[in-house]
Symmetry: C2
Subunit: 351 residues, 2 copies
């Protein structure tokens, strides 16, 4: 121990045992007398010894680090409640599993987006990756990761990606269907729908569910206005303004996420509409904004923290399985329950 921090050898020397024995007690290994164990522990305490994770991981080939990657456009505000919820759940899962969480954002429009992610695993900075949309829908990326047999869990992947890698999420098609059924039950007959970004397949599923319900109800094409947004508040504002301006105003407006729904609310307020009397507006996700806005937003609850938590559970499972040489775990998709939560932004149409 030449001035620096104490090493395992210092502990071994002080407690009069071999390095391997110290390693055993540190890792809860078998075959160590209680007396020796205590002696080692005492030395550890006396020296204030801490394992050097760098060394442990180099020797063991692990990192105990999980990477959470999400898309960010530096210009557009991130969907921060969405990501925060996921992150918080993942963080909690990591704490329980003894992992650390490495955040990684990549601009979804940059050229080397895939390379940046691949490099993370090639350079051995983490043992596994949690991918959020739209990366969780990038089958090419998924396959590259699989080739390196890097454990991966996708958040809300679309149908195609679900066959390539494991994932967690709600059943978005059913969620879209149920929300629409609810609006139908309220008596609405003219609809507006603001979709999310292209390529976010799970959000697209929401739209599919909407179409199914609409078709079943026999609503004609003339009575539905569809717009494509990009999940941001601003796109909700702008598209709603467009919808309200075109004369053929719907009585119900369904948005593919809460941020856009809040934007819609904003736009409607601006032109003096009363919500929900003049227009019902609903969203998806049940992020915290939906509760703090006025009127409180009717939306579909997607348990983001649970999803983030479950994602690390799944990935840790896969990492362990990978080590036991029992072969890779089969790909699977975990469905967590959603729920339409009725608040005050939707009501029967009036007038």
């Amino acid at each position: 121990m030449r001035g620096g921090k104490p090493t395992i050898d210092d502990v071994a020397a002080l407690s009069g045992v071999a390095r391997a024995t110290v390693s055993r007690v540190l890792n809860g290994g078998p075959n160590v007398r209680e007396e020796v164990r205590q002696r080692v522990l005492k030395a550890v305490d006396k020296l204030q010894y801490k394992v050097n994770m760098q060394a442990r991981f180099l020797a063991g080939g692990k990192t105990q680090v999980l990477g959470l990657v999400y898309a960010s456009d530096l210009d557009s505000e991130p969907n921060s409640f969405y990501h925060s919820g996921l992150e918080l759940g993942a963080l909690r899962g990591c704490a329980e599993a003894g992992f650390q969480l490495l955040m990684h954002t990549v601009n979804q429009h940059s050229l080397g987006k895939t390379a940046k992610i691949i490099e993370l695993v090639d350079s051995r900075r983490c043992d596994g990756l949690i991918l959020t949309p739209p990366f969780s829908d990038d089958c090419d990326l998924l396959r590259e990761l699989e080739a390196r047999n890097c454990p991966v869990v996708c958040i809300s992947p679309g149908l195609a990606a679900q066959k390539v890698a494991s994932g967690v999420g709600i059943d978005d098609e059913v969620a879209g269907y149920e929300m629409t059924r609810y609006m139908l039950s309220l008596g609405h007959k003219k609809f507006g729908f603001i979709k999310g970004l292209e390529g976010h397949l799970s959000a697209e599923e929401r739209y599919s569910g909407f179409r199914r319900a609409i078709a079943e109800a026999g609503i004609g094409e003339a009575d539905v206005t569809v717009m494509r947004g990009n999940f941001t508040f601003r796109s909700g504002v702008d598209l709603t303004a467009a919808i309200l301006g075109n004369g053929h105003r719907p009585s119900a407006l369904i948005c593919a996420n809460d941020d856009m729904a809040v934007g819609a609310l904003f736009s409607a307020h601006k032109v003096g509409l009363n919500i929900p009397q003049d227009l019902s507006i609903v969203g998806f996700d049940d992020t915290p904004v939906s509760e703090i806005i006025w009127p409180p937003l009717t939306t579909v609850n997607q348990p983001l923290k649970t999803i983030g938590y479950r994602a690390v559970e799944m990935i840790v499972e896969r990492i362990k399985a990978g080590k036991t040489a029992s072969g890779p775990l089969p790909v699977r998709f975990d469905v967590v329950p959603h729920k339409v939560v009725m608040r005050e932004s939707a009501s029967p149409p009036q007038g």
Copy 2:
């Protein structure tokens, strides 16, 4: 190269040079002929060789990882726009500086909170730490970190902590003063103030600025109602309900952060008040919610992304300085500019 990934030795062998030479070209070292350099590069490319960061860092004693720690109560929703902004800025800084960002939450009420943070550096998982409130005000923690000479940068530390470790933030006292002056200029004479959590010294500074302006204006104690909240939307709702219910209603309500201001808005709406005609409500931070709420919130802009970005710049500086043995950098506090942004939730009092 026995089946696993190629190592530096494989590259050395293929290009017919020594390991050290490969290391030189990889790290842009001097003393290597251009011809050799090309040969090595070609081998690297052919083998698809990637540096194993684990090994590099063990050998070099670095990790190229920064830890960002923030408080979380599992029960209360996190102040996610606040943290997201910081995180996004930090992430961008990390990308530019070649660092990775490790997220770490710790329950601020748990016993071992300090130990959890210390362990992060003792086990050498990161080269430096960015602390957010209230940890950025924990002088004991700061000193323990300094003893381990772990580079630290605090986000919005209070006056005491500013002397112990470097930090970044706005001048909260002046911000509080200016906001209050603005309300005064609007003609308000009866104030309500909802403070943040105790121990968040920077938020407390906001309150000091408020008191200074109030005193200067000669407003009497009878005309100011002060409550202590905890930064959450809910506390804003509850405390505002209490304030509105006590008869002596203020015409202006200042909240120590936006979330509470939004809660105040919610509460006011609920009892049928018109904002800002019946009551002016303002916040602090200018998080995205303040723009999407109705009416748009008058607040103080705190450039969170810039602060997060600046924090990693500062810490990277300190890490580099630490390596060059030129002695530790002096403690300093970087003030970034704030700005009161006037939107629609505040107006002259009416009636």
